[in-house]
Symmetry: C2
Subunit: 593 residues, 2 copies
């Protein structure tokens, strides 16, 4: 059975040393009383215990048993109920929640690191609360005071759980097609009718109530995505005194049999005139739901990092232990029958790739967390606006790049094990299966790429990119020289990104297929440049502190070197593919495939 140990040393490095979060928190009034360096460390240490000792041990058995559907009810695997009860006692679900309704008000920079641990321990378990946190955000931002005071406290406490009901059988990436209807009732509520699919945690046996956030159409709604409203639909209606009342007619029809995240119930949900409450304005539901979706996109991105970290830990342990062959140039352990496989260059290539991508992702997720904190808590309008623009730009990159590189890492981690990596008991193949969904749900990575290139680059004529590039240049050129290590390589990559972006802006003006043709390669190109920025910042700190801890900072610098020399050059092929344009994608008629 594999173990999971949260990478606390690296998390502290990113949080305290690279981004100096405590200084930021001290200057933001909403956070200065809530959190400081010691509080953050104590939370992360406690989180490491919960995820490593309570949740991770359920991962293999949860995968084998899976969520079960019987007579309309879902049974989570053995141990999940007890572990969930202990987990919510720790207050983790409301970690970054609004204190006015019982949340702990912690910064997102901290929450993203907790989320990484949670997914690293077990993706299925993590999902049962990940949707709750996102639902709370949307409710907090858009719902009436009555809905907020009724629902938020028990969602933050984890007593109740949230879901996100978007997809219908004929309506996935294209939400404008959705058909679920909401009819007004005399008391101001609505009656919802329709079928939603792929609803994570739509039914389960962990919480007393389930709060569905549902996209549906009002009777007079315009067609397409401008006619969608958002509703809160509880499994059990809530009485005026807060107690649970009648069972609302929203039922689970079946659960999916999936490749992975088998302990997470993925439900078909049937709404048969279920009572729902409007959240936000009529026909503005998609915008309101995006509050939740943007949260979930980052969260699901982090699933990719968490799975990759777990796979990396297992692969390193196996590579130190497994004896096969001899080191290049001569035996490293001549007293043994063979050397540990970590001596082999190709095994190191896989481990270094995993390490560079995972630590790069950890830094980048914390960086996005920082921007989210600034967007929410900064006093200055301009600073808040700038952070909002960065969040909009970086969220699709985080979701798709974390998960694409996360799958790559999990595949490497499986490969290090050879044949044992294909056998279930070692856990490495489960991580591949569990990570794979993160490229698909919450908006496929293709959809993320269209969002990045279409909405975040082309639609605003590159403004977000210019802001990002200015920040990178300011770092490289900083007068104290902290931006020097790898500064040239970083600037070269940034220049290429900008040149390709300019070229794409021109293409998009004439070719309606230009954005779609380039989107995924462009997102990857941007991702590698963003990670280069992260690695330059990490290397900068490591270089200055190297004498304090040679083992840790020396490894950081060596990993940065690996990233710049072996992974960043992937941008050359991506650039060539982008510049090939859209024509070669449309050489075939649909019938010629």
């Amino acid at each position: 059975m594999p173990e999971f140990n949260a990478p606390l040393r690296d998390m502290r490095f990113v949080l305290h040393e690279v981004f100096d979060a405590p200084s930021l928190w001290a200057r933001l009034p909403a956070l200065s009383e809530t959190v400081d360096a010691d509080t953050a460390d104590a939370i992360l240490e406690e989180a490491a215990k919960v995820t490593g000792q309570l949740i991770a041990p359920l991962s293999r058995s949860g995968d084998e048993e899976g969520a079960q559907f019987e007579a309309g009810a879902v049974r989570t695997p053995a141990g999940f109920k007890e572990a969930y009860a202990t987990y919510i006692d720790g207050g983790w679900v409301g970690l970054a929640g609004n204190p006015a309704y019982g949340g702990l008000g912690m910064p997102k920079m901290l929450a993203v690191q907790f989320e990484e641990m949670l997914y690293g321990a077990d993706s299925s378990f993590a999902l049962y609360s990940a949707l709750t946190s996102g639902a709370c955000l949307a409710i907090d931002a858009h719902a009436s005071e009555e809905l907020k005071s009724t629902y938020l406290p028990r969602l933050y406490s984890g007593e109740w759980a949230g879901t996100m009901c978007l997809t219908e059988p004929h309506s996935g990436s294209d939400l404008g097609l959705l058909r679920t209807r909401a009819e007004p009732r005399a008391d101001g509520s609505y009656a919802l009718t329709g079928t939603k699919i792929f609803i994570t945690g739509g039914e389960q046996d962990l919480t007393a109530n389930i709060v569905h956030l549902v996209l549906a159409r009002l009777p007079d709604a315009p067609p397409g995505s401008r006619g969608i409203s958002l509703f809160l639909v509880p499994k059990f209606l809530v009485e005026a005194d807060g107690s649970l009342g009648a069972r609302n007619p929203v039922h689970c029809g079946s659960i999916e049999h999936k490749m992975g995240i088998k302990a997470s119930a993925t439900c078909v949900m049937n709404f048969d005139g279920a009572v729902g409450y409007l959240v936000g304005e009529p026909n503005r539901g998609l915008a309101a739901m995006f509050t939740m979706m943007n949260y979930e996109r980052l969260s699901i991105g982090i699933q990719g990092i968490g799975c990759a970290e777990a796979s990396y830990q297992n692969a390193v342990a196996y590579a130190r232990d497994r004896l096969q062959g001899r080191a290049p140039g001569g035996a490293a352990a001549p007293e043994k029958s063979a050397d540990p496989i970590i001596v082999h260059a190709d095994v190191r290539r896989m481990l270094m790739t995993m390490k560079a991508l995972t630590e790069g992702g950890r830094a980048f997720s914390t960086y996005v967390g920082q921007q989210l904190d600034l967007a929410k808590f900064a006093e200055d309008d301009e600073e808040r606006g700038a952070a909002e623009a960065m969040v909009a730009l970086l969220t699709p990159i985080a979701k798709a790049f974390f998960t694409d590189t996360g799958l790559e890492s999990c595949i490497h981690g499986q490969q290090v094990f050879g044949g044992h990596g294909y056998v279930r008991e070692w856990g490495q193949e489960q991580l591949v299966r569990d990570a794979r969904i993160a490229q698909i749900y919450e908006g496929t990575n293709g959809i993320q790429a269209l969002d990045l290139l279409g909405r975040k680059l082309v639609a605003n004529r590159g403004a977000g990119l210019r802001q990002f590039a200015a920040e990178v240049r300011a770092f490289v050129d900083s007068p104290d020289g902290v931006g020097q290590p790898f500064g040239d390589e970083l600037l070269d990559a940034l220049n290429r990104l900008e040149a390709v972006s300019d070229w794409l802006l021109e293409q998009a003006a004439d070719d309606p297929a230009a954005v779609g043709a380039a989107a995924v390669d462009y997102l990857h190109l941007f991702g590698y440049v963003a990670y280069a920025y992260m690695w330059a910042r990490m290397a900068s700190v490591a270089e200055r502190r190297r004498a304090d801890d040679e083992a840790f900072y020396g490894a950081k610098l060596a990993t940065a070197q690996f990233y710049f020399s072996r992974l960043l050059p992937r941008i050359h092929s991506l650039e060539a593919a982008i510049r090939a344009g859209s024509a070669s994608l449309y050489g075939l008629g649909a019938e010629q495939f």
Copy 2:
């Protein structure tokens, strides 16, 4: 339930038009009486029926049920026994077998296309006979006349099955560590004792007997890989009259629970003084086993193509059917609620990538088959020797590149389905799981890359590459101009491959880690150049025949264009990673990971 339809049109194109196999067969005496164009087409058509109608329908249910182990016996999934009986009645197992012992003597160029169909229909089912075919090759090449006449006819007929017993718990990639012992017995046979793991089809309920080819050590054997001998160990001893005799003490201890190929029994095999017969010379067993291993390497490579083809077929059907969003530039099907997703550039990027890689792989596997046929059947020593050198060079590329690009294709094919791709009933996630093993077993792809770069390039100072390059240049420069389409792009890629190879030869002289550090990237680089050669050859034919069948040849040319403009540029990043050298892989001590 997905269907599988063998890509007959494309197979005929490759066999007849690109490589003009019938002309080759006509000039080789051993084949001229055996096969011609019509025979080959008839065989492929029959094979398409068997694989599409008999085997493919068992794939989903076989995955769900899996092979079961009970009280020492293995039960294959429902329907496998009956299907296997029908399958062997067709004579498929001995398709390319030696006619002197009941094989059909068909050329490998044909057999590789049959194998692709078999894996495309169901990898698990395919494995039950793939090992038999390989075992026959080794027996035919190395065993005594008595063993050959006793075993080959019933292996070719499929009544008995073969296995390959190499791996032990502590000895996988490093076969020199293996411990299974073979003690001489008075009658000239041996008593084998030891444990082998990961034995595909080590036990099953499909055949009356199972013939294990086992690597073991004689009592006086030198240590390491020079002290390994090969033995034939039947499950049931065979009496002088050919009937089955006593049960040999070789037993299945358990089967693995795996990520995929669940209907294939992967067995722990315990040899407890089991009677075995020496095959070939004492202590030369590894060389003899390589006859089988090289066969299996190509075969397992083809598993990658077969899975990718199946995934492609499903993805195309889904992309034509699923309605989401609108085509760039305006609705393609305005009468419908949305356009089929095949209109979207990013969906096309995935489908075109699958198509270009799969058809490139199909051509390349047939090309390797051609070299195998020449190595076996050519009259002229020089021609035979040249073909042998090409087989040695190309086999590791085929195994690893087919399966690495095969997994990539299957992942694209799953992604096209969105959330439905993650659900088991659609079959796309099974293909990802089934294809994944092919990168691991039969020598991991890292081991294949070391073989290519270490043994096939560095050890012979690039002789094999020069031979390959000369053939490519001769094609591009052919006086009739047939090598013109994409000739410049092909030559440019070839020049880069040669330059990197020269650089690596220099590096390897001074740096013992140089080969391992570059191997996988080098294999991929070579693979993309090899596919470029295939695509140039296919485009050459398509250009000349375009007027005969615009739909087919036009698609070929458009796919070639896609390959050269969007996939071949991957070599730029690979080259940069190779030239980064080994230093960045050894910046960390084992304890710093």
